[in-house]
């Protein structure tokens, strides 16, 4: 039977078991919207800005093992998605973005709402396609999902001219796909894996350093087994939180710019680093020259060969899917695992570093942001999905909410995009209906996608917005305080709206919390009485609170500024 290109698009989504699409209509996607209207397998969530559609689709992926989908119109619809696409690209998030395009014969004529979608998105996608023939449509969408989800995942854009969505064609969805140019490696090289296992057993001061790759390949269980077997300390990057249970004794905390004293020292002084799905980026190892002053051996497992030996020379590179490689390692260790006795001394050293209690903070008579996150952890039983924006609040959430499970910590680590928090909450809730979802944000960030409160109302998405309101672009202010002699250039946010009234205006519940003793009761109320409501919790916090420890830009990992040193 012949069906239209628009119907083909929808059938492809159904074949891919997509249950929801985040999008916004417009001229060039009208046929597709019409096809969506005539079915009920794929739900559509109408956002209020295309950026939010892409962020929500991104969080849908991050919080599940499925691929999020966004659908937007040509021209401004597409340009509005670019921040979202770049955000997902930096964190290797699988996602498919379907974009309308002007009819084929108008391309290149500066037609109304035309833009060079493939050109604009090329540097921030894993791959993109312009569909030129309706006969290629189904295969192209199949490829898009395949490419997005396999290898090192990433966003894929499919640009579909309007005339293609009107043309009629037979529909057949390809069962599988073969691409001679794209065959990502899965299994690691066994010889290399053996070498690595040998090296781990000889280690005297080992550290397991893991990143987003562990989350993306659903390897948290295997990582945990391996770490327990070896009795090695584990640190996670910002993107890797939840890859190893944070409440476990072997967890030394997050590392990097705002990592713990013990994690950064253990990383720096380790004699063997097992890096798993992480990429030694600048926020993690600080100054690479300083990092290079210690002699050590590095084992690096990553699915992307270009991540290996990019910033740090690696002794044992293992290219492969993290879960598969860890599995092989576990098998080898099952034959008998001997951890070097000197590791016990290393643990003593680590416990000494832990004794510095680098996350301790001083209570004032204001609400401390750290305290809010600690209480949030208690009230939610450590079991919520926490989305966050970018700034001090993000770091406080990462440091003080103890993530025991993967895919619970949803943030823009790579691009650092303010504004993701609320749409991330929507994506999480669509993928995990009924889950507890809190968006830890700041009064700066939340205003970048605040219009999505309307979407949340329409679809009943009860995100709990934890606004750590310091009246400042706090992270900017912290740098200005420390490195620009307190010249607070444009980091003070005045004329803030009354967030309580604003929430109410959108039809939600608003709360303003000003005293430390009100923090916990308010949170409890939000998560019980208002379980099914979006609650905007405006916490008026100590405006002077800073994030510590801190490795200043250009400094080494061990050159941390600690809270009490100020």
């Amino acid at each position: 039977m012949m069906i239209s290109g628009a119907e083909i698009v929808v059938r492809c989504l159904q074949e891919e078991k997509v249950d929801c699409v985040f999008g916004y209509p417009g001229g060039s996607v009208l046929h597709i919207y019409d096809a969506l209207f005539k079915q009920d397998q794929v739900t559509h969530i109408l956002v209020r800005h295309e950026q939010a559609a892409v962020h929500a689709a991104d969080a849908y992926s991050r919080s599940s093992q499925r691929v999020g989908v966004a659908l937007v119109t040509s021209g401004p619809g597409v340009t509005n998605t670019v921040t979202g696409i770049a955000t997902a690209y930096m964190d290797s998030i699988p996602m498919v973005v379907l974009c309308g395009q002007v009819p084929t014969q108008y391309i290149g004529q500066d037609a109304f709402q035309e833009c060079d979608t493939v050109g604009i998105t090329r540097p921030c996608v894993k791959h993109n396609f312009l569909v030129k023939d309706v006969k290629d449509l189904a295969l192209t969408i199949k490829k898009a999902f395949h490419i997005a989800a396999t290898g090192r995942p990433g966003p894929v854009v499919v640009d579909i001219p309007k005339d293609i969505t009107a043309q009629m064609c037979e529909f057949e969805y390809p069962k599988s796909i073969q691409m001679r140019s794209y065959n990502p490696v899965v299994k690691g090289h066994l010889g290399q894996i053996k070498k690595a296992v040998q090296m781990l057993q000889e280690a005297k001061r080992p550290i397991i350093y893991t990143g987003g790759g562990v989350i993306l390949s659903d390897a948290a269980d295997k990582l945990t087994q391996l770490a327990r077997k070896l009795d090695f300390p584990v640190t996670n990057t910002l993107m890797g939180l939840g890859g190893y249970p944070a409440t476990d004794r072997q967890f030394v905390g997050m590392l990097g710019m705002h990592g713990t004293f013990e994690a950064n020292n253990a990383m720096h002084y380790a004699d063997v680093i097992l890096a798993v799905g992480a990429r030694f980026d600048d926020r993690v190892i600080g100054n690479p020259e300083h990092f290079g002053t210690e002699k050590r051996r590095v084992i690096h497992i990553d699915i992307d060969p270009s991540s290996i030996s990019k910033r740090v020379k690696v002794d044992v590179p293992i290219v492969g899917n993290v879960a598969d490689v860890l599995d092989e390692m576990l098998k080898l260790l099952d034959g008998g695992c001997k951890t070097d006795p000197e590791v016990a001394d290393w643990w003593k050293q680590i416990d000494e570093w832990r004794g510095r209690k680098s996350l301790a903070y001083r209570q004032t008579n204001h609400i401390m942001p750290q305290y809010v996150v600690e209480k949030l952890y208690e009230v939610t039983g450590g079991d919520a999905f926490i989305t966050s924006d970018v700034g001090q609040h993000q770091m406080f959430a990462a440091q003080y909410y103890k993530f025991d499970q993967p895919r619970r910590w949803i943030n823009s680590g790579g691009l650092g995009t303010m504004g993701v928090g609320l749409p991330y909450g929507m994506g999480v809730l669509m993928a995990n209906p009924g889950a507890q979802v809190a968006c830890v944000t700041g009064e700066g960030s939340i205003q970048m996608c605040i219009q999505e409160m309307s979407t949340c109302k329409q679809y009943g998405l009860p995100v709990k917005i934890i606004n750590l309101n310091n009246g400042m672009l706090g992270m900017v202010r912290q740098w200005q305080e420390m490195f620009y002699s307190k010249r607070y250039s444009q980091s003070y946010v005045t004329s803030l709206p009354d967030f309580v009234k604003l929430a109410e205006a959108y039809g939600h519940v608003g709360m303003r919390i000003e005293k430390p003793e009100d923090v916990e009761p308010a949170l409890r109320k939000a998560f019980t009485e208002h379980k099914d409501d979006l609650v905007f919790m405006d916490f008026i916090i100590d405006p002077g609170a800073n994030v510590f420890p801190m490795v200043a830009a250009g400094k080494g990992l061990t050159e941390m500024i600690l809270a009490e040193e100020l």
Binding site: V118, S181, P305
Partner: protein, 163 residues
């Protein structure tokens, strides 16, 4: 270090911009780039002349391999290979220069492929350094126009780049 990278890439619209975009986004050099379809019209072969340290070259080949349309990548200059570049050069050829131009072309085994009363177009093939020396050997004032293809190369003997 100078390197010649050969790439087999799907002959799709935009393939060239993906490669060129990668080089500019990551700050890699392109000294020359040539591209044309192979005997299999669904594949293009690209030759890029670049330079950089070993670390940079390692990243260049890894990043190229990551492009979804790229089928194969080799650094030709890593082993035995031959390379050629084609140049067309238009020169003023009047009076005593006319004879001199003919002589120069002969010495470099070039061919004169277009003749007017006052100009020649000389076709010259060879290693890039040979083309450079030819240009250097001419009186600069007599050169009207040059066009060069950039380097293309191929491995020697059994070194074959194929799907």
């Amino acid at each position: 270090m100078r390197h010649i990278i050969s790439i087999l890439i799907e002959n799709e619209a935009g393939a060239l911009s993906r490669v060129a975009g990668l080089f500019s986004a990551r700050g890699y050099n392109i000294e020359s780039l040539t591209v044309a379809p192979t005997e299999d019209p669904s594949l293009s072969r690209m030759t890029i002349l670049t330079s950089g340290s070993d670390d940079v070259l390692e990243q260049i080949t890894k990043q190229l391999n990551k492009l979804v349309d790229v089928v194969k990548v080799v650094d030709l200059s890593e082993a035995a290979h031959v390379e050629r570049e084609l140049m067309l050069i238009k020169v003023r050829a009047t009076g005593k220069d006319r004879e001199e131009m003919k002589r120069m072309a002969d010495i470099f085994r070039g061919r004169i492929i277009d003749v007017t009363e006052s100009t020649y177009v000389i076709e010259l093939t060879g290693a890039s350094t040979k083309l450079d020396s030819f240009i250097a050997g001419l009186d600069a004032g007599l050169i009207l126009e040059t066009v060069r293809t950039g380097v293309c190369g191929i491995g020697r003997g059994d070194r074959i780049l194929k799907v």
